[in-house]
């Protein structure tokens, strides 16, 4: 398992030459099995995507933009005319409906030593590995309604909606966008069903119930048949016994009357 992650890391390094054809990817499904959920999407951080644009002595920061897929018809630009990235929030764009909004801000992930995903099994390292490897869009449920919140707000997404994401590399001193990825493939959040529609009818009867019913019915039938046979034989034997008794009783009578 760890060897496959090493191969993946090397693939990341190898894509240095791929240029700008990179897109944000959803987090590895073996790691984050509950993804995407109703209101969140966990994305892989952009490992080695911007390495060709990095200069050694400058400081950079990465912005993550999110928008609903339907907004691409309205506007999908993340910069204004002077090359500065947009400062739009979730509230301003109605949750990404009118255009992209800034969902996150973080440091450039370390391409040379990516986190080892096999370390997730270690209880002490798992927090760091998760923090370095992925970012969960929609994680913060309270920042939208908190008037004192000043950082970048990352509110929950809408269920059953398709979203697209983009990473933007920014020079922190100049404040100008240096590189950007393409918009990701459409990622759809989950859809829910209502529990009223769950069918609780058991359907087909189980096998042993059918066996019990049929065997018991046959036994009752046999008992009834036996009862009718015994009643029939009793009646016929009772009649013959009655007749013989009356004949016996009627015989000694004439002797009495003759005397």
């Amino acid at each position: 398992m760890s060897s496959s992650w090493v191969v993946l890391a090397f693939c990341c390094l190898g894509q240095l030459c791929a240029g700008n054809s990179l897109k944000p990817q959803i987090a590895a499904p073996q790691l984050a099995t509950n993804n995407p959920t109703l209101t969140t999407v966990a994305l892989e951080k952009p490992f080695c995507m911007f390495d060709s644009s990095l200069h050694p002595n400058k400081s950079y920061v990465i912005y993550l933009y999110a928008m609903k897929e339907t907004a691409s018809a309205i506007s999908s630009l993340v910069t204004d005319n002077s090359g500065k990235p947009l400062d739009s929030t979730f509230h301003q764009t109605s949750g990404g409906q009118l255009g992209p909004y800034k969902a996150a801000l973080f440091d450039v992930p370390n391409c040379a030593s990516p986190p080892k995903l096999a370390d997730v099994g270690d209880v002490n390292k798992v927090s760091d590995v998760l923090k370095q490897y992925l970012f969960r869009v929609g994680d913060d449920g309270t920042c939208l309604y908190d008037p004192n919140f000043l950082a970048v707000c990352n509110p929950p997404l809408a269920p059953d909606t398709t979203y697209r994401f983009k990473y933007v590399l920014l020079d922190s001193t100049e404040g100008i966008m240096k590189a950007q990825t393409l918009w990701s493939d459409p990622i759809k959040t989950r859809r829910v069903k209502i529990p009223l529609k769950i069918d609780t009818w058991p359907g087909r009867r189980s096998g042993d119930m059918i066996v019990i019913t049929s065997i018991l019915s046959v036994l009752v039938f046999l008992l009834l048949a036996g009862f009718l046979a015994s009643v029939g034989s009793k009646d016929s034997s009772a009649e013959t016994r009655c007749m013989s008794q009356t004949i016996q009783q009627s015989e000694p009578r004439p002797q009495l009357s003759s005397e």
Partner: protein, 184 residues
């Protein structure tokens, strides 16, 4: 002297008729008991869990009592048997529920008791549990833990009842056979 023992049922006949009626009722109840077992499907538990677990806006006292019972039972079950939901934690994600109406999906994709707990009773890693990282949440469903003991007990009772009925059948048959041969 006329012998008027024509169509008045004798005591033995009355006894056998009554025993047959009793046998018929026993048979009906045995079949009903066996049929009832079929109704305890996973869907039944799923629906009850989704509609009552952590229900906060209860209509009356009876509703409140049932909701509290279901919540307490499921909490203990998920904690002790290390399981989540009826078929799996995806039950909480696939369906809307009373739990979902009071707990946001971003913080609680599933109840906290679905997370692997440490010795103090708190989740080992909350982010791992929310994301579904293997090892930090209970990925199997609770239906096996519910149905296993129930099936063994129901099986024992059902087949014991059936065996008693078979025994009664042979006794009645022997009685009828024996009495049809002796004088009375």
């Amino acid at each position: 002297m006329e012998n008027n023992s024509r169509h008045t049922p004798s005591r033995k006949q009355t006894y056998i008729i009554l025993m047959l009626i009793t046998y018929a009722f026993e048979m009906a109840s045995c079949i009903t008991a066996a049929t009832q077992r079929d109704f305890l499907t996973p869907n039944l538990f799923l629906k009850q869990m989704l509609e009552r677990y952590n229900k906060s806006d209860t209509d009356n006292n009876n509703d409140k009592w049932m909701a509290e019972g279901v919540t307490k039972t499921w909490d203990e079950l998920m904690l002790q048997k290390h399981c989540c939901g009826v078929r799996g934690p995806s039950d909480w994600q696939e369906y809307t529920s009373t739990f979902r109406s009071s707990h946001k999906d971003a913080d609680f994709p599933w109840p906290r008791n679905c997370c692997v707990m440490d010795a103090q009773g708190s989740p080992v890693n909350l982010d791992g549990c929310k994301l579904g990282v293997p090892g930090y949440y209970n990925s199997n469903g609770c239906y096996d833990a519910i149905s296993g003991p129930m099936n063994t007990q129901a099986w024992g009772v059902a087949w014991f009842g059936f065996a008693i009925l078979c025994w009664t059948f042979f006794v009645l048959l022997g009685t009828m056979f024996y009495w049809s041969r002796i004088e009375y």
